[in-house]
C-alpha cells in the first residue's frame, strides 16, 4: 500500500475512502469551527444528479458537488434568504465548512469531511430513512 494510503487508512480506521455518496442524507454531529446546538435541524443530501441540498438551521441551501475517488468538491452553494439572528454564524460556518471540503471518508453511519491539509472539518451521521 502506498504510504499516503496507509496514513489515511490508519487515520480513519473502519472508514472507507471515496465511496459514492449519491442519494445519501446526513446530519452534522460535529464541526471544527462551530458548536452545533442539539435543537437545531441541519442536514445535507447528495443527489444522484450531482446536486447537493440541505438545511442550514435557518435556510435551505443548494448547489453542486463532484467526487473523484476520495476527493470531493462542494459548491458554490446558494441559499434562501431568511434571517435568523441566533443562527447566522452557525449557518455561515456550516456552508463554509462544506465548501472547504477537499476529501471525505465514510462508513455505514458516519461521513467525515477533511480540508486540503487532511484535517477534519466536520463529521455527519446518516439520516434515518423515513
Amino acid at each position: 500500500m502506498p504510504l499516503l494510503g496507509l496514513v489515511l487508512a490508519v487515520g480513519t480506521a473502519g472508514m472507507t475512502m471515496g465511496v459514492d455518496l449519491s442519494g445519501s442524507k446526513w446530519h452534522p454531529s460535529f464541526m471544527t469551527k462551530s458548536e452545533i446546538p442539539s435543537g437545531v435541524h441541519m442536514s445535507v443530501q447528495f443527489g444522484p444528479d450531482g446536486s447537493i441540498s440541505g438545511y442550514g438551521g435557518c435556510n435551505r441551501f443548494f448547489g453542486g458537488y463532484t467526487i473523484d475517488g476520495d476527493h470531493i468538491k462542494i459548491g458554490p452553494l446558494g441559499s434562501t434568504r431568511k434571517g435568523c439572528p441566533g443562527l447566522t454564524q452557525l449557518e455561515t460556518s456550516f456552508f463554509a465548512t462544506l465548501e472547504a471540503a477537499k476529501s471525505f471518508a465514510q462508513d455505514d453511519g458516519t461521513l467525515t469531511l477533511f480540508d486540503a491539509a487532511g484535517d477534519k472539518l466536520a463529521q455527519f451521521v446518516r439520516a434515518e430513512e423515513k
Binding site: 450531482g50 443548494f62 455561515t92
Partner: protein, 320 residues
C-alpha cells in the same frame, strides 16, 4: 490585516451601505427618493408602505428560544404575500400561532403587530420550487393601501416599455447589509474592540431601518445557464424561466440578502408601483457574479387570487 485596518474597512462599508447617494430610480410620486439591503439606502416613512415584517418565534425540544424573520407585502387588507420557505421548515408548515406580522413603520422597533390566522405555502414548493406563499391575518389592516400584484400582461408591458433596456426594479427589506466576507471582518474586529464589533454585527445582520435598492433585470435564460454551470439543479434551485426573475444592482453591488426573503420586488408603471417578484434565493449576496433569484409574481397571479377568493368563500383548504 491590522485591527485598525479592519475597523476602518468595516466603518467604510457601513457608511457606504447607509449613506451614499445612488441613482434615483425609485423616486415615488411624492418626489422622494427611495434609492435604495446590500448597498441599499434607508427608506423613509411612507415610501414603501406595503412592506411587512414576518417573524416566527419558537422553542426547540431543549427549551432554547429561536427567532426567524422574513419580509412580505400587504396585497389585500387581510393578506400578505411572501416566500413559501418563510412559512415552513424542512417541509413542515410553521404554526400560525408562532408567527406575527409587523407593519406600519420603516423602523423595526416601531412596528405594530397583528396575529396570523393561516399560513399557505404553495404546495409545489418542495417538488417544483414554487417559492411563494400567503399569510391570512387575524384582522384586516385598513390603514395601508395594499400593493397591486403583477398580472401576466404586466410582463409584456414592462419589457416593451423600453425594448433596449432591461426592466428596473426596487427591492426592500430588513435583511443583512453586507455579505458573508465582510461579516468575517466583523469577527476580526471582535479581537480589537468586542463592544464595537457586537454593535456592528447586530446592525449588519439585523438593521433597525428598512432599506431598499435599485436593481436591474438579468436575462433569465443567462441566469439559469450561469447557475446550472456550477451544478445547481435540484427542485428548489432550478431557475424556471417562466416562474423566476433574476436581478442585480446596476454595478452588481446591490442585492437582497439573508433576512430579505419573502419581501417585494416592485416595478414602477405609469406612476404606480406593482409587485413583480418575491425575494427567494441566491449565491452569496451582491458577489458581482451571481444575480439574486426572485419568484415571478405574475406566474402565480391566478393561484394568489384563487387562494384568497377560495378562503373568502370558506374554502380554508385553498388548494393551489
Amino acid at each position: 490585516m491590522t485591527g485598525r485596518n479592519v475597523f476602518c474597512r468595516l466603518f467604510a462599508l457601513l457608511a457606504l451601505s447607509g449613506g451614499v447617494a445612488g441613482p434615483a430610480l425609485a423616486a415615488d410620486d411624492t418626489g422622494k427618493n427611495s434609492e435604495m439591503i446590500v448597498n441599499g439606502v434607508p427608506v423613509e416613512e411612507g415610501q414603501i408602505p406595503w412592506q411587512v415584517f414576518l417573524t416566527r418565534s419558537w422553542t426547540d425540544a431543549n427549551g432554547d428560544r429561536w427567532v426567524a424573520w422574513c419580509g412580505g407585502s400587504l396585497i389585500a387588507p387581510q393578506w400578505v404575500l411572501t416566500a413559501a420557505h418563510c412559512l415552513e421548515d424542512e417541509g413542515v408548515a410553521n404554526k400560525p400561532e408562532e408567527m406575527e406580522v409587523g407593519y406600519g413603520s420603516v423602523h423595526r422597533s416601531k412596528l405594530k403587530t397583528v396575529k396570523i390566522e393561516q399560513v399557505i405555502p404553495h404546495a409545489d414548493y418542495k417538488s417544483k420550487g414554487s417559492d411563494i406563499g400567503l399569510v391570512k391575518l387575524k384582522r384586516p389592516i385598513g390603514i395601508i393601501r395594499p400593493i397591486e400584484i403583477a398580472a401576466p400582461e404586466i410582463d409584456a408591458t414592462l419589457h416593451s416599455a423600453n425594448a433596449n433596456a432591461a426592466p428596473t426594479y426596487v427591492v426592500s427589506g430588513w435583511g443583512r447589509l453586507l455579505d458573508i466576507g465582510d461579516i468575517d471582518l466583523a469577527t476580526q474586529l471582535h479581537e480589537v474592540n468586542p463592544q464595537a464589533a457586537q454593535a456592528m454585527a447586530e446592525e449588519i445582520n439585523s438593521p433597525e431601518q428598512l432599506r431598499a435598492a435599485d436593481l436591474v433585470e438579468v436575462d433569465v435564460h443567462d441566469c439559469a445557464k450561469l447557475y446550472k454551470s456550477v451544478g445547481y439543479g435540484g427542485p428548489t434551485s432550478t431557475i424556471d424561466v417562466e416562474r423566476n426573475i433574476c436581478a442585480e444592482g446596476k454595478d452588481k453591488r446591490a442585492d437582497s440578502c439573508q433576512g430579505d426573503s419573502g419581501g417585494p420586488l416592485v416595478a414602477k408603471l405609469q406612476g404606480k408601483f406593482v409587485q413583480v417578484g418575491v425575494v427567494s434565493w441566491g449565491h452569496s449576496c451582491a458577489d458581482g457574479v451571481f444575480p439574486g433569484v426572485y419568484t415571478k409574481v405574475s406566474s402565480y397571479n391566478e393561484w394568489i387570487n384563487n387562494t384568497i377568493n377560495g378562503a373568502a368563500a370558506g374554502d380554508t383548504a385553498a388548494k393551489p
